[in-house]
């Protein structure tokens, strides 16, 4: 079932469009990761999905009903959806009272409240901290209590703004595990933002990429700032690194500016180890720094001065025998490079 449907949604701040989404559907019981650079509009989108701020234009449908951003109507919707901030803030009281707040406003009996609080604290491994003062907790503990505070309310939709960005590696793993577990056991729809493609790939059913407020039709992160170089033959090359100049396929390129952002489709990058294969252009080499099994594909991250992601079938992977630490060559077809704006 579709829980959210967004149509022609825009958000404008001070005359600047920070979000422009023609169409987006979010299905029930799935985990979505929202990728994108800083300022891409990820948090703004979450705020709108959490009914905390209205869009400037367009429509939102929640469970097929149009959402009107009228305070009296929003409160009921907000009780279905909970958002946890990137840097969550806890009320200056005990952990227990923090968790109790949302349950109290829902008029849940004390006996039931106690049980729900204990369950939520158990879920995040913070039961012993119930009586601790919330403002004395560490960053990771604060993040976990904020998760527990939200989970105690058993929301149908759970929105997390960069849940792992401000915590150490140990807590990152714990938090990702919690998200995965609640999706599986409580059938909760989860949307979380992240910069980290690995995290996104680890637990998300679907990855959405936002760039400059627009959803990009891709499930990857090979987006680079580049300088365009047009030669006398009309060929366009993009320089994404002082040592990396890539030929682009002929396409409409706005020559008014030589600075662009380019997207390289990782599905179209061909690795090759064996001698004999010859490609005329766009051949790079780099050291493999990560290999991951991801949704029936193998994701290989190669450091060539910039980090590039290659997505390949298991057959291609086995054929090329790629291991972490190896130096590999790969070919980027010009048509795999696309200028965005």
């Amino acid at each position: 079932m579709t829980v959210y449907e967004l149509n022609q949604l825009t958000k404008i701040y001070d005359g600047r469009t920070v979000l422009d989404i023609p169409n987006l559907k979010i299905q029930e019981n799935r985990i979505y990761s929202l990728l994108g650079p800083n300022g891409a509009g990820k948090t703004t989108l979450l705020n709108i999905l959490a009914f905390l701020e209205p869009p400037s234009g367009g429509n939102i449908y929640y469970r097929s009903k149009p959402v009107r951003f009228i305070e009296s109507e929003l409160q009921a919707l907000r009780r279905d959806v909970i958002m946890v901030d990137q840097f969550p803030i806890l009320f200056t009281t005990t952990v227990l009272k923090n968790l109790e707040f949302g349950l109290k406003v829902r008029k849940i009996s004390k006996r039931k409240r106690t049980r729900m609080i204990q369950e939520a604290l158990d879920l995040v491994g913070m039961r012993d901290f119930a009586l601790a003062q919330a403002h004395k907790l560490s960053g990771g503990e604060t993040q976990r209590v904020a998760l527990a505070r939200a989970l105690a309310l058993s929301p149908q939709i759970f929105l997390c703004d960069e849940p792992t960005s401000s915590v150490d590696v140990e807590n990152q793993a714990i938090i990702l595990n919690i998200l995965k577990r609640i999706n599986q056991t409580k059938r909760m729809t989860i949307v979380f933002t992240t910069h980290d493609r690995t995290q996104a790939g680890t637990i998300a059913d679907q990855t959405l990429v936002l760039d400059q407020g627009r959803l990009i039709e891709a499930d990857y992160e090979n987006i680079f700032s580049a300088v365009l170089d047009l030669n006398s033959l009309g060929e366009a090359r993009c320089v994404i690194h002082p040592n990396i100049s890539l030929l682009m396929a002929s396409q409409k390129i706005n020559t008014a500016t030589d600075k662009v952002r380019v997207l390289i489709d990782p599905n179209q990058i061909h690795p090759f180890r064996k001698a004999g294969k010859q490609f005329p252009v766009n051949v790079l080499h780099g050291i493999v720094c990560q290999v991951m099994d991801e949704n029936l594909k193998i994701r290989v991250v190669v450091d060539s001065g910039v980090r590039l992601t290659l997505l390949m079938t298991e057959k291609t992977y086995r054929h090329n025998q790629i291991f972490v630490g190896d130096t590999i060559k790969y070919y980027i077809p010009p048509k795999a490079i696309q200028a965005i704006e």
Binding site: L52, R78, R79, M83, D85, F91, G102, V105, L153
Partner: protein, 231 residues
């Protein structure tokens, strides 16, 4: 030097002997100051909270006016209230002039801007995320306001303490509207001014020590709550 030393010793003796006149004067001062602070708190805290919490046209201008009123001299307030409560004023028939009530009215006008402006500052200092968190946890408007108020509580208490410190030590309003009548409206500050005019320093210094003691206590409380508000 002998005059100061002798007066100081005599003043201490007066304090520790619990001189009846001095106790009465301190009592009047505390009574009017506490009453005016309470009234100003009842008016100023909700006003400050509403101004800080709500968005409305003219908000900036209102805050600027309130900030300007912080510098209002006590004699101006005294004069202003006098025109209303003197025999020829519109509240003349209530016989308020030269009563403790008159002092309280003047002091309330003096400190309402202090309580309001400091409350606005305390609320504005509260992180916007508290509002957002309360809302996403399902709180309605009143419950969200309560969370913000709760988080700003130490700053608001500090505002009230600052207001009390202002009224306990003011002299212009007490003198002009209270009239410094012995046994009725004589406060610590008006008594000190009178004793100074008479050249009798002992009671003056004794009251000065008590006033400083109260101010010191208030400041200690003020800093304690300000510190808590930055937790």
């Amino acid at each position: 030097m002998d005059l100061l030393f002798d007066s100081f010793i005599s003043a201490l003796f007066l304090i520790f002997s619990f001189d009846a006149e001095m106790i009465f004067i301190v009592g009047v001062s505390l009574k009017v100051s506490i009453a005016s602070t309470l009234i100003a708190g009842i008016v100023g805290v909700p006003a400050g909270f509403t101004i800080a919490f709500e968005a409305f046209p003219g908000k900036r201008m209102l805050i600027t006016v309130l900030n300007t009123l912080l510098a209002l001299p006590t004699v101006v307030i005294g004069l202003f209230v006098y025109t209303f409560i003197s025999r020829r004023g519109i509240f003349g028939p209530f016989d308020l002039l030269y009563t403790q009530k008159a002092i309280i009215i003047g002091q309330v006008i003096l400190i309402i801007p202090i309580v309001t402006v400091f409350t606005i500052a305390a609320i504005n200092r509260i992180d916007e995320r508290y509002r957002k968190t309360a809302m996403t946890l399902g709180a309605n408007r009143i419950q969200t306001a309560w969370i913000i108020f709760r988080e700003a509580r130490f700053g608001i208490i500090a505002a009230i303490i600052a207001a009390f410190g202002r009224v306990i030590s003011e002299v212009g309003i007490s003198m002009m509207l209270g009239g410094n009548i012995k046994g009725f409206t004589r406060t610590m500050t008006t008594a000190m001014a009178l004793e100074y005019d008479k050249g009798a320093f002992i009671l003056s210094i004794a009251l000065g020590i008590v006033l400083l003691g109260i101010s010191f206590g208030m400041n200690m409380l003020f800093h304690f709550f300000q510190g808590r508000s930055r937790l």
